[in-house]
Symmetry: C2
Subunit: 652 residues, 2 copies
């Protein structure tokens, strides 16, 4: 076989199975209740609250649009997307957890969506219910294509999961509607949405329908973006400048929307972080499907800017709450940052698409970083509480007392006025089986150490067994009954690049690392490969151009970044210091935080000064005492009592 | 004599004479031009800009109110106060720099103000010109009493400087107008201004007129504040809730205005920092003049909260730009802080008033800290550029690139939309002679080392000679020709408490320090006292409850806090480390920054990582190299090329 076609991946990883079952048993029912206004919850009083004080109303909006209910639209103009992302998450879950009760709900939901859709394919309940005369007239803020893009993703997923032609038809009708309205020909709108998403959605629709017009439309949106940088302003003026759909959005600069100049001219990843990574995902899709080298170059440029200069060690992105945005190179404050869950989810999308283009281990490294840290942190271990903002340093006193940190919650919320994150993370978790392999020509890349059994064409199966992320022994069994010839590339993670070992069929083998992968020619009927990764505790530091992290260490073990919490340590946490040669000990605790490997590091800690001591003194600090700092994986923080947390710790 | 009455102080300090002449030669003419819309300036684009793009219009507003011009009011409702603070500054300058040309201008200005004043004494040009029906109807935002309070201060000062009864009469008419409208009796407004100021102004008016009703009115405002915590909300509702005078002000919590509860119940210094210290100044005035022990207790409570838990080492206060406000105990971030110049000026007022009540060196320490650091930093060495915000760490890249730091300018601005600070600092500088002595019963306290010649009753003179703040040798000559008996208290600064020496008439003497002062019984006709203060470079640290400063040192020499600037050191500055036992060297450079003592400290500096290096690595940092860190006094920063600055430096 030249192109070893991937047929199915079954996740066997205990770590991920717990999360995936949690989504089925807790997250999806919980979110369905919230969207149907049947949950007894408290909306987070964060800056995105939008004055909401009750449930989501998202399903009711669809019912009103479908004529099944009377009333007004409630929530953000993009409230529909909560439902679509939830539907997409549910669709993926059927692949590992068939669920007739849930299927009945989702089938009915698809019926409702079809009923809510207008004959021409348009669907955005806010505009249908409360502002039909303003359709496509204020794209800076309307999120109409973003909203329909999320349905298109859900519809494609639902079709793939269940074979529902109805779900796919809704998506195609939406895409046709958009195609009818947007473009450079006479009478069409020469514009694009303020929030990228439609580009990646249309690419997915193209991949399942092979309809060239959908790919062309995605390509159009990418090429057109920023060609007419005053497009939004002109639309706003024509629509009535003061009639904002979302207060304050008009004041953001053009690069907040990645609309200041054509993508191909944009040198840095600027603006709203989620918009950037959704755009990048669309760019990578279209670059791969069209071969557009300018788009690919932009993908590389944005990737490097984010990963080399604008990403937290946990994979989180977005250094400021103002516009939930990137700021500037190496500006990575830990306590005023944003690090939106959706941005880490989107970064996972981008990394996956880049892996589909190129066999570079770096993409797998970042994907892994997001999956095990920055994205996963967005949900509590019980599946019912969520972070929008993921800080690397938090203090309840600061959240309460300093307005510049009021967006940094120290415990996850029941729900949000802008509830983009919970269902976004749910769909990532239920589809994580899509993130483990990429196939290039005759090469299968296995770039994640999430235990699984994967079936390929010609009865090839790859079984990966491990106890990751707690242990680094990765055992592959490759069954190739028809002795086809193909290559298998295994990723050597950046954190293990200096220390790993390989055995093929039980024999140690020296293998060269090429762009982060080691390659094996497979032609035998049965092959085993054992990969031993370095799970020692590592003291990480940042490039010292990062002001916020200078003189500090972070602790990493395998793919997991660790955090110190007040639940395990004495506050204030900033009095701890760790020598980078400090002795560490790690052990698995099955009963802690659903089972985690805890790291204990020898540390020093100054005694806290008395409250009545002088605020400033020339006296020397009191001698530090030897002690231990206990750390838990970052993703698991804030699942116990409220308290301080920090990822970076002073060195010394 | 039992009460040695202070008659006149002449500043002879070269350091302060330069500033005081600068105010006469540059600051006052410059500000007069700005207020008359005749300066070619650029208004800072800071968050307080208020959309202003031209000069101040402040004098024009008065002319319109006086009927000399047609037009609308321009600027903030408190725009008049720029003129009044300028007039007050000019009044003080006459005591050391008689100036007939300026006097002509100020006399004409007083005439104009008198003409603008309404027959009943009311004067607030915004309301007179554009909203006469709303007088006293929205005190949360109107600043009417704040505005008139500033005139009262100016009028008292002008009367004292020039004998102008006209200037005093305007002030009395204003106070009478306010007295007629405010109070608890039937038909009066049972309220107070959103911005404290009138309390201290009325106290000053009482001190010069001895009219009890003015003191009673000041006392009323202090007692009434917060007794009816919904007072502002009720007024806003009656006035029309949406008709804000200053957008956003309605959203601040009640404690922003110190109106959440009665002052006597308030435990912490909360809200807008300038409001707090103006209020405290009024409290201290009235506590002294009335003996109100509850007010005095509140003064102590607020003082301790500010000085022990909420003040930067430079004396700056206000930890957040949101509301230019205090946050919570020990929350002193250096790079997102506010530290408004006006707040340091106001803290000087408060300290001075506390010195008038009690002989505690701590008040003199803080006054000195403000005069030589936090307040003085507000003006450039050329007298034509000003800081509103005084950060302890600044980086032009952060100001430009991170919205959470956009309020932190790294070079002083020509002028501000809200131009409260420039003239406030000018009036502090021209009146600094009022800040050197306090007299308690038979004791003269000399609490500042600003060289001067002071004349007291009975022909007593005290001459203080020194080269402060560069040298710590303070020479006093006390002439007491009638050999009266009195005590002289000299402050031993906190920074020299552990190391000072005293000679009386050339003989070393052991003296005990009582609450920060050493006391001498003076009865001879001639006495000399030599005080030798410790001018060695000191490595300061903060109480380690301050998260932002942990593991860092600041350098202080005498009263001056030092700062490292990119102009003298290699960026990024955060790569420097200083051992707290590091060797230091200091020397005076006459040609640098109008003459400063520079401190050189032995330091270590890691080489900067390459831009293309990994953002995170487990590799050890590169060995630091031995180098030097050059520091200049904090007040003098940002007078050269734009660049990074930091007060705190990593220890190690």
């Amino acid at each position: 076989m030249t192109q070893p076609q991937l047929k199915k991946v079954e996740i066997t990883s205990a770590f991920w199975k717990r999360y995936r079952e949690l989504v089925v048993k807790e997250v999806l029912p919980y979110q369905w209740d919230v969207m149907n206004d049947q949950a007894d919850i408290k909306i987070a009083e964060d800056p995105q609250n939008n004055g909401q004080d009750k449930n989501s109303h998202a399903v009711a909006n669809l019912k009103i649009a479908a004529g099944e209910m009377k009333g007004h639209h409630y929530g953000f103009p993009f409230q529909d997307t909560d439902v679509y992302k939830w539907l997409e998450a549910a669709a993926y879950s059927f692949s590992y957890h068939p669920n007739p009760d849930l299927k009945k709900i989702t089938d009915n939901l698809v019926d409702l969506i079809a009923k809510a859709q207008e004959p021409d394919g348009y669907l955005s309940t806010f505009f249908q219910i409360d502002a039909p005369e303003r359709k496509f007239k204020r794209l800076q803020q309307s999120h109409e294509l973003y909203t329909m893009g999320h349905y298109i993703e859900a519809g494609v997923a639902y079709y793939q999961a269940t074979g529902s032609e109805k779900a796919l038809t809704i998506a195609k009708k939406m895409a046709d509607c958009i195609d009818a309205h947007f473009g450079l020909s006479e009478g069409k709108i020469p514009g694009y949405d303020g929030h990228p998403e439609i580009e990646l959605a249309l690419s997915r629709l193209y991949e399942v329908t092979h309809e060239q017009k959908y790919l062309d439309l995605a390509h159009y949106f990418l090429n057109q973006r920023g060609q007419n940088p005053d497009f939004f302003e002109k639309q706003n003026e024509a629509d009535g400048i003061d009639r904002d759909l979302i207060p304050g959005m008009r004041d953001f600069p053009r690069n907040y929307y990645q609309a200041a100049e054509p993508i191909k001219d944009q040198q840095t990843a600027d603006g709203h972080a989620v918009r950037v990574v959704y755009l990048c995902t669309g760019m990578a899709y279209v670059a791969r499907l069209t071969g557009d080298q300018d788009l690919l170059a932009a993908c590389h440029r944005f990737w490097n800017d984010i990963v080399k200069r604008r990403m937290y060690i946990t994979g989180n992105i977005g250094s400021t709450t103002t516009g939930e945005a990137f700021t500037y190179d190496y500006d990575l404050p830990n306590d005023t940052m944003y690090g939106e869950t959706c941005a880490s989810v989107g970064m996972s999308f981008f990394a996956r698409q880049m892996l589909n283009i190129e066999a570079k281990g770096e993409y797998g490294d970042i994907l892994e970083k997001e999956l095990f840290n920055g994205a996963l942190s967005g949900m509590s271990l019980d599946g019912k509480h969520f972070f929008y903002v993921n800080p690397l340093e938090a203090d309840p006193a600061a959240t309460k007392g300093n307005p510049g940190k009021s967006h940094v919650l120290t415990h996850r919320a029941d729900w949000f006025g802008c509830a983009c994150c919970p269902a976004n993370l749910a769909r990532l978790i239920t589809s994580v089986d899509h993130y483990l392999y990429s196939v290039h020509d005759d090469t299968i890349l296995s770039h994640q150490f999430i235990a699984n059994e994967a079936s390929f064409a010609d009865d090839v199966t790859i079984t990966q067994e491990n106890n990751f992320p707690w242990a680094g022994d990765i055992h592959y069994t490759i069954a190739n009954p028809h002795t086809r010839s193909f290559k298998l590339g295994l990723r050597i993670p950046g954190w293990s690049a200096g220390n790993f070992a390989v055995q093929v069929n039980g024999q140690a083998e020296d293998v060269a690392v090429t762009d982060g992968f080691v390659y094996f020619a497979i032609d035998a009927a049965a092959t085993t490969i054992d990969l031993k990764l370095d799970m020692s505790v590592q003291f990480m530091r940042s490039n010292n151009r990062v002001r916020a992290d200078v003189g500090q260490v972070a602790i990493q073990r395998g793919p997991l970044v660790y955090a110190a919490e007040q639940a395990d340590n004495e506050a204030p946490l900033w009095l701890y210091r760790i020598d980078r040669n400090a002795k560490t000990e790690s052990h698995y605790e099955a009963d802690l935080l659903k089972g985690v490997t805890v790291v204990e590091a020898a540390a020093h800690r100054e005694p806290e000064d008395p409250a009545d001591a002088d605020l400033y003194t020339s006296a020397a600090e009191k001698p530090a005492q030897d002690t231990q700092l206990t750390l838990i994986p970052y993703y698991a923080w804030a699942n116990r009592e409220d308290g301080q947390m920090q990822v970076w710790c002073r060195r010394g």
